[in-house]
Amino acid sequence: MMRDFTLTIDKKKAAKALGYLLCLTAFYILSSARGVLSDVNYATVNALPFLVAAIAFYDGPYMGGVMGVYGGLLLSISSSTVEGAEALGLALFGVLCGSVGVLFMRRFLLSILACGSLFITLRGIFSATYYALFYSIPFRSIFAGYLRILAISIVPGAVGYFLIKAIHRRFSEVEY
């Protein structure tokens, strides 16, 4: 009996991880497919940091890290950034949210939005510094571009949070 019970828990974990993967994929496809959310106010929606933050808050640093790698790989398909860089950034962000973020914040919408926004802002600072150093583009201009991405990604990010929450609840019930 004990063995069956463990199997059920493992299956639920696997189903939950699959749900998260599908959710990340769906958000990526929706935001990058031509004519959907790929060109909103001259920017492409990026809700994946919010989803990774939500996963990390609900399932801890390990799931957050793995989903961060997956999300980063998805992002690298359509961007010209070196493959692996987005994955590394998003994975470390997932680990930090799951290990440090949960110590200081409650698991609710505003925390997820704050963390996701912080990630996009930091990504913007990093990117703007890079372009300022190597392309002599004013820091403020690139950074403003990232703020625009942030502005259009908050609502999809909030929707993503509720989806992640629903998936987590659905597959976290213990069966007796």
Binding site: Y28, R34, A43, G65, S80, G84, L92, Y131
Partner: protein
């Protein structure tokens, strides 16, 4: 030491090594990794379907809320067609004259043989300093990294990475884009490159022009064909205006591409071309 032995530290280390490995692989081989290729193979067909569906919905509702605009556009296009018909006549005369002049001067005409691959635009990416797109075909169709991407109007960009069934494209608007070009009217050689300031207007620029350069508004810019990177004579765009650099020592020209890059649905990839002098 306790931290170094913790499970979380090991996990972070593993992720860092994996991602660093991917970065090194990507930088070294200039190709997407197996992971990225696999994801691209799965995601791109879904993007195609979704893009088509979105376009269908947009077109359907467009009939209702854009009827007046469509009528206006139709009238304008009719007028343009008339104008182009007249121009075509003039061009035919000019082409005949040009052929005779070439023969007279003893120069051999340049021959180009393009091998085309028609591709659907699966997705468009607009970053803070990047404008890229993903196409529906890849190495399975013979597309290679560096291949030229164009429409019947002119150059769109180049293939920056290739997966089995998708290709990533850096467009002429991307700040990573740079190409040696010519002004069609004067044959002056110029450098065309993406520019951050002009990106949001859907334009790019011709840099470092001397203040006394002979470039005018509406001049056509075309690829020079030097070094064989791009085929010769592909139209890059039309000069919209000339501006002075911040230093005041040089000018630059703002160029608008022939096509609305982010609105393209289909493009051609030039898999092979030959320039015979």
């Amino acid at each position: 030491m306790k931290l170094l032995r913790s499970r979380l530290f090991g996990f972070v280390l593993a992720i860092t090594l994996l991602c660093t490995g991917l970065m090194v692989w990507s930088a070294y081989t200039d190709r997407p990794s197996v992971l990225s290729r696999g994801l691209g193979m799965v995601v791109t067909p879904v993007q195609n379907v979704l893009s088509e569906a979105a376009q269908g919905v947009k077109d359907f509702f467009g009939y209702f809320y854009r009827y007046a605009a469509l009528e206006e556009e139709n009238a304008r296009l009719q007028a343009e067609i008339e104008q182009y018909r007249e121009m075509e006549q003039k061009y035919l005369v000019a082409i005949n004259e040009n052929t005779e002049l070439r023969q007279l001067s003893g120069l051999a005409a340049k021959h180009r043989d393009f091998t085309f691959e028609l591709c659907q635009v699966s997705s468009v990416y607009r970053g803070a300093a990047q404008v890229g797109m993903v196409l529906s075909k890849g190495s399975d169709s013979g597309i290679e990294q560096g291949d030229t991407v164009m429409t019947s109007g002119g150059l769109v960009g180049y293939v920056s990475a290739v997966g089995p069934n998708y290709s990533e494209v850096v467009t002429v608007l991307d700040i990573a884009f740079k190409a040696e070009s010519k002004i069609s009217r004067t044959r002056e050689t110029v450098i065309a490159e993406g520019d951050f300031e002009l990106l949001s207007d859907g334009c790019f620029k011709l840099s470092y022009l001397p203040t006394d350069c002979n470039i005018q508004e509406k001049d056509l810019v075309e690829t020079s064909g030097y070094a064989g990177i791009y085929p010769q004579g592909l139209i890059l765009g039309r000069v919209r205006e000339l501006r002075r650099d911040a230093s005041g020592l040089t000018k630059y020209a703002v160029v608008e591409p022939v096509d609305e890059i982010t609105e393209l649905k289909w493009v051609y990839v030039v898999k092979d071309f030959e320039v015979v002098e």
